[in-house]
Amino acid sequence: MNDWQTWAAPAVVIATVAVLVWKNVRSEKETACDKECGCENRNE
């Protein structure tokens, strides 16, 4: 069966949230450019 997928998916989600939060906190602190939100980004 595919039980491993049942826990692997939430693990990926949690890791994603962690990365998103971490990157935003870090960029806020440095008031530097954060690569996701417009710094190197003139495009959407």
């Binding site: 997928q5 998103l20 450019c33 417009g38 003139r42 959407e44």
Partner: protein, 614 residues
């Protein structure tokens, strides 16, 4: 050699700085931002004749070191070595225009007085010669004691001589600091140029003048402009469909491959619905972004864009904007982020703010898929012509919105300064395809990086919100109602009900506050669960009914949703850019509140008033 030598590239706007920068560095360049301001920081690396690497910083265009705009302030601070993020350059390449040496040397002599070694590059010698101006650069070299290199950067003429100068040990100019005001500096520059510049008095009609006779002609000028904008929008909305279908097909194929190779399960659903569906839904805009920047690049590169500002200024002045706001607003039709960043060329802080505040009302390309989906639902048996008419109506509505809110802000915001409008009209030049291509490459790369990072992350989070907590029910819609997103949708239902929306639309609405196009991918996730295929999502949405058995996506609801999407501020990235641009949360929050509040009221009015007709 220890660390590579750093050259700063300095010059007035429209001198060909970017062209020279590209010629020196090629693809070895990096675009970032000066922290705290939305001024672009462009750095690149080149090699000198000894094979040693050097760094070039392309500083924003400036007329003087007495800074009068954020752009000029960055240039001033970097040259003074006051920016912690950018070391003071080892030497400065001062780019000056051969057609107007006096004015361009104004900035160049200020730079010399900083005590930094300089190399003077006299650009556009060909255009100057066409107008009867010849410059004895050798004389200037002798007088200043630094290399003075004649160039035609767009044809790469003079690169060899510049390379020689770059390979030598940089030297400081033999220039006595000017005491006194602006006029004194012009007098000193006049003395420097004495006998080095020859002008023929003969009246000449330059090719540029001939072009202007047509392009800013009171009648022909408008026809040409309308033709170009018509061509732009035609390419954007019809030709772009071909590569967009290819991209869609590629992502569909990818999803199919995953499904064929993986057993059904949560992780597979996350990959196909969340990742491939979500990222694919955004990457599909790449062709449109590239087309828009091709047109803008072409207009900018040839010098036509300045003429557009020249012609449009009067129309913009009526609502307190100036002709320079046209470019940021035009860019905003692709995306408000480059649009808002383009406001940095405007000198007046007030004009910048107003343009920034209204930029998100322009119909950015992220709204397109939402419009397309909703119009198809609204007019299930409509002809292509009718659908196009609705689409056109939405664009007209956004233009009216831009003007109306510009007018409102112009009336309400305190006037801090007298706004002076000076627009430089550079001579026309042949477009450099290489340069336009580089710019498109640059923008495309940034766009894809974003799709692979922020959009990817948000898609995964969104998928999780519609999936967890899991219920025992096998029924997809039961499962959705149980999920976090479903609960949220139900919670806001009372607020959105007067607008004609149900809780499922509420989920889409909330999700698209991250980015508008997320509405479409959310709908795929909501109505399909697995095996997303655009057409059948639409069918299921069309068949969706309310408690009373009537279709959920009726004409009134669709109209109301469309109006909501015209005005609502649903883009996290734009909020972030506004925050950075205005340097305060205040304006960013105001922008979200006024746009979303107005969107709510406008959608409410649309739904309620249309009830009398439909």
């Amino acid at each position: 050699m220890s660390s590579p030598r750093t050259f700063a590239l300095v010059g007035n706007p429209n001198t060909g700085k970017t062209t020279l920068f590209n010629a020196l560095t090629g693809l070895r360049q990096k675009v970032a931002n000066y922290p705290g301001v939305t001024v672009e920081k462009k750095t690149g690396t080149g090699r000198n004749r000894h094979g040693e690497a050097f760094t070039v910083i392309d500083l924003p265009g400036a007329y003087s070191l007495d800074a009068k705009s954020p752009d000029e302030e960055v240039t001033r601070a970097v040259l003074h070595g006051e920016r912690a993020d950018t070391p003071q350059p080892d030497a400065v390449i001062c780019l000056v225009d051969a057609g107007n040496l006096e004015r361009h040397l104004y900035l160049a002599t200020q730079v010399m007085e900083l005590g930094l070694p300089v190399i003077v590059v006299v650009n556009k010698t060909d255009a100057a010669e066409a107008r009867g101006i010849t410059i004895a650069t050798q004389k200037l070299t002798e007088r200043l004691g630094v290399p003075v290199v004649p160039m035609q950067a767009n044809e790469r003429v003079g690169m060899e001589a510049l390379q020689v100068a770059l390979s030598a040990e940089p030297v400081k100019a033999n220039w006595k600091p000017v005491e006194g005001d602006t006029a004194a500096r012009y007098v000193a520059i006049g003395e420097l140029l004495e006998g080095a510049v020859a002008r023929s008095d003969e009246e000449r009609l330059t090719p540029s003048d001939r072009w202007d006779r047509v392009l800013v002609h009171p009648v022909l000028g408008w026809l040409v402009l309308l033709g170009i904008l018509g061509g732009l929008f035609f390419t954007l909305f019809s030709l772009a469909g071909i590569p967009m279908d290819l991209i869609e097909g590629a992502f569909g194929w990818l999803g199919g491959q995953v499904e064929a190779r993986m057993a059904p399960g949560d992780l597979r659903a996350l990959i196909t619905e969340g990742i491939i569906g979500g990222v694919g839904g955004v990457v599909i805009f790449l062709p449109q972004i590239l087309i828009l920047f091709f047109f803008i690049g072409l207009m900018e590169n040839t010098g036509y864009l300045a003429r557009v500002s020249f012609m449009m200024d009067r129309l913009m002045a009526g609502v307190g904007l100036n002709g320079k706001a046209f470019v940021p607003l035009l860019s905003s039709y692709a995306c408000a982020i480059p649009g808002i960043m383009a406001t940095r060329t405007m000198e007046s802080a007030r004009d910048r703010l107003i343009t920034t505040l209204i930029a998100p009302i322009t119909s950015c390309s992220a709204r397109l898929p939402v419009y397309v989906m909703l119009i198809a639902l609204m007019l299930p048996v409509g002809t292509a012509g009718q659908k196009a008419l609705v689409m056109l109506g939405l664009y007209v509505l956004s233009i009216i919105g831009v003007y109306a809110f510009a007018y409102v802000f112009n009336r309400t915001l305190a006037r801090q300064e007298q706004t002076l409008f000076v627009l430089e009209l550079p001579a026309y030049q042949r477009p450099s395809w290489r340069e336009i291509g580089l710019q498109m490459y640059d923008r495309g790369k940034i766009f894809l990086r974003r799709a692979g990072t922020l959009i990817l992350g948000l898609s995964i989070v969104l998928w999780a919100l519609t999936t967890y907590p899991k219920s025992d029910s096998e029924d997809g819609s039961e499962q959705l109602a149980q999920s976090y997103a479903g609960k949220l949708g139900h919670a806001i239902e009372p607020v959105i009900e007067p607008l004609g929306y149900d809780w499922k639309m509420g989920i889409g609405l909330v999700a698209s506050f991250a980015a508008r196009e997320v509405f479409v991918s959310t709908m795929s996730i909501i109505y399909l669960g697995e095996e997303a295929d655009d057409d059948s999502v639409r069918n299921r949405m069309a068949n969706e009914t309310r408690a009373d058995g009537k279709p959920a996506y009726n004409v009134r609801t669709c109209l109301s949703l469309l109006v909501f999407y015209v005005f609502a501020m649903q883009c996290l990235s734009t909020v972030a850019v506004t925050r950075r641009e205005t340097n305060s949360w205040r304006w960013a929050i105001l922008q979200v509140v006024y746009l979303t509040g107005f969107a709510y009221l406008a959608a409410l009015a649309t739904y309620q008033i249309s009830g009398f007709f439909v």
